[in-house]
């Protein structure tokens, strides 16, 4: 695994700014070393993820490159509402795109207001700064109308890349459900147009099964987080979900299942990634794209442990499965099943979104959380406002909650650490 391959010709061909890209990879490497490699008592299986991160813009990009050279199509996404099943049923691959670090914000702020959420600024920065090989490999970027910031940013991104946007309804009434089922069919048509392949009931069934298997593997990892001592750190569990967005699906599933086997043994042996009795925190809020490990890192360096994250790079990604229908189910029936499953995810872009509060409280109990940490990116209106309802639900359930609004910068680490440490002392 340790042989070094020179990916620079590939990056150059993809149009990356090599110097800026080196700086980015250097920063990610330093962050990873500090947040991950220094952890004690990690599961052995996490070596796979150390490898994945060491090859973050290398091996996987090469795989995409080779796949495309053979005529395969790659789509890039920024959100879990874009069903991977439909992409795969057309023989294409889906990858989550870079949006977890501050990059080229000076260039972004020339075309976008400064007070735009860090995630939106980030994906624009990666594109403008020419440092994301994944978007360069994406034949199509599929956006969604989850928030106004992204919605408008996609218009700007469309000037630089091939972008197509799905409309996600903002409510969950019957007519919204019907509308979303149509959007899902629109995605299938778009994929057919992009790939020239027509999906079959067989290919769709296989795709549903494969993606469900990936989610099942992640569910097994989550299960091991219920134990005290917790079998895997919150950071490691978060990383697994982050990588799930872009790794090869069958390989990822196999590796995560191996980790889950190891975690089962650790739970049985009473071994933990944190001492027994460490304060257990449930995080809820906005997504954390690689390399945004900020809040997990603060909590776990302060002696707490994150036992679950009710976020799009957490439980929302894998808790619900697409129903695997009988052998004679039609494409239409399967598409409806996919549409309904995705609409059932509780994101703050919906109104109302009471289901999220229920999910948070239920999960806090299930995972034995001592407290809830509400994490939101600054300028994310939906989550920052919805925090009020989560706080009320937490209060009613007798669970302390700490509310943190922040961005990708490191300048508030000192104050955040004090707040998180004091919160842990209080629990």
């Amino acid at each position: 695994m340790s042989e070094t391959v020179d990916y620079r010709p590939m990056w150059e061909e993809l149009g990356l700014d090599l110097e800026a890209h080196d700086a980015l990879l250097g920063a990610v490497g330093t962050l990873y070393k500090d947040a991950y490699v220094r952890q004690k008592d990690r599961p052995e299986g996490m070596k796979y993820f150390d490898f994945v991160i060491s090859e973050i813009h290398g091996l996987r990009v090469k795989e995409l490159d080779d796949f495309r050279a053979q005529g395969g199509k790659v789509v890039g996404t920024f959100c879990l509402y874009v069903p991977e099943e439909i992409v795969r049923a057309h023989g294409a691959w889906s990858v989550g795109l870079c949006s977890g670090a501050e990059f080229a914000f000076d260039e972004v702020e020339r075309i976008m207001p400064r007070n735009t959420c860090a995630l939106v600024k980030s994906f624009m920065g990666f594109k403008l700064g020419k440092v994301c090989p994944y978007i360069q490999e994406a034949d199509l970027v599929i956006g969604e109308t989850t928030c106004d910031g992204k919605k408008k940013a996609y218009e700007l991104l469309a000037e630089l890349h091939n972008v197509w946007v799905m409309e996600l309804p903002q409510m969950k009434r019957e007519k919204d459900k019907a509308f979303w089922r149509e959007e899902i069919r629109g995605l299938a048509e778009k994929m057919e147009e992009l790939t020239g392949n027509r999906m079959t009931a067989e290919s769709l069934r296989t795709a549903i099964k494969e993606v469900n298997d990936k989610r099942r593997a992640l569910q097994r990892v989550a299960q091991a987080r219920k134990a005290d001592p917790v079998a895997i750190s919150g950071k490691d569990a978060l990383l697994a979900v982050q990588v799930a967005f872009y790794d090869d699906v069958p390989r990822f599933t196999e590796m995560v299942n191996k980790i889950a086997d190891e975690l089962d043994q650790r739970v049985a042996a009473g071994e933990g990634a944190a001492p027994k009795g460490a304060k257990r925190v449930l995080i809820t809020g906005t997504p954390m794209a690689i390399p945004n490990w900020k809040i997990h890192d603060i909590v776990e360096k302060s002696g707490g442990v994150v036992v679950q994250e009710e976020v799009c790079t957490g439980s929302r990604y894998y808790t619900k499965l697409v129903p695997e229908l009988a052998e004679d189910a039609t494409i239409d029936e399967m598409l409806d099943a996919i549409a309904d499953k995705y609409l059932d995810i509780n994101c703050a872009c919906f109104t109302p979104n009471e289901g999220r509060c229920d999910d948070v409280i239920e999960m806090a109990k299930e995972y034995g959380a001592d407290g809830i940490l509400h994490y939101s990116l600054q300028f994310c209106g939906p989550y920052q406002i919805e925090a009020e309802f989560v706080e009320r639900a937490a209060k009613e359930a007798g669970l302390p909650m700490l509310k943190i609004d922040t961005d990708y910068s490191m300048e508030d680490i000192g104050q955040l650490s004090t707040r998180v440490e004091a919160f842990l002392e209080m629990l």
């Binding site: 302390p400 508030d412 000192g414 104050q415 004090t418 004091a422 002392e425 209080m426």
Partner: protein, 251 residues
């Protein structure tokens, strides 16, 4: 057992030496540009154990190998030891503001802290005093003497400074501006106190508790009793020392 409590803040390093439950000595020193140098001297005065709190606690932990507690816990502990009936704490320090609601017995029930900017802190007052050509003492005296304050709408230190400069150029009375600045801080403080459900008696600590105008405004605006420590800057260091397991009063 002599326990040294260190509160390593952004503006001052405060030290309390505790023997049993008795404060035998205390010091307040400027943090300067090398806070570690400020407390190096304190470490040479003899102690059996050290507990650090404040902004610089992690550095102290890494260099001295001493236990640390957060400022929240330290202030809660120190304030409730000084005033056993205290129900809440307000600490306005050099670069942060904390409000803490206490359970009976002094444990932290809830708290709130300002985020990364210095809005409404000691630093804010320093910058504003400078913009008005006052010393900190003159700023407080002018605010107290004014019968009303102008409305200051910015809490951001940088924006508020521009706002103050604008007001000065429009010929606004400096005393009314000073009063307006204090009003804006107290309004923010009351918002925080309300959010955490703080009850009286309220212990007002930290460097800004030495500002008579702030004390007066907090007294007027807060519904309950206000308690002022004799030495408002050492409450955190005292609480840190008390939190040591072998201090006279284990928590």
């Amino acid at each position: 057992m002599r326990v040294l409590g260190l509160d390593i803040g952004s503006r001052t390093v405060d030290a309390v030496w505790l023997e049993g439950d008795r404060i035998v000595a205390y010091e307040v020193a400027d943090s300067g540009f090398d806070p570690a140098a400020a407390y190096r001297d304190f470490l040479e005065r003899g102690h059996d154990a050290v507990v650090a709190t404040g902004y610089g606690r992690h550095v102290a932990r890494d260099t001295l190998g001493c236990p640390v507690v957060t400022e929240i816990k330290a202030y809660a502990r120190g304030a409730s030891e000084l005033f056993p009936g205290a129900a809440s704490v307000l600490d306005i320090g050099g670069q942060d503001t904390k409000v803490i609601a206490l359970h009976d017995g002094g444990a932290v029930a809830d708290f709130e802290m300002n985020d990364k900017c210095a809005a409404g802190t000691g630093k804010f007052l320093e910058v504003m005093a400078n913009a008005l050509g006052f010393t900190l003492e003159e700023l407080a005296a002018a605010a107290l003497a004014a019968d009303s304050g102008v409305q200051i709408s910015s809490m951001c230190t940088v924006f508020a400074e521009s706002e103050v400069t604008g007001l000065v150029h429009r010929g606004e009375d400096r005393g009314r501006i000073a009063r307006g600045l204090h009003d804006s801080i107290s309004k923010r403080v009351f918002g925080s106190l309300k959010r955490i459900g703080a009850q009286g008696p309220l212990v007002f600590a930290g460097g800004v508790a030495k500002n008579p105008a702030m004390v007066e405004l907090v007294r007027l605006g807060f519904g309950g009793e206000i308690l002022l420590p004799d030495e408002c800057q050492i409450v955190g260091a005292y609480g840190a020392a008390l939190s040591h397991a072998n201090s006279g009063r284990p928590s």
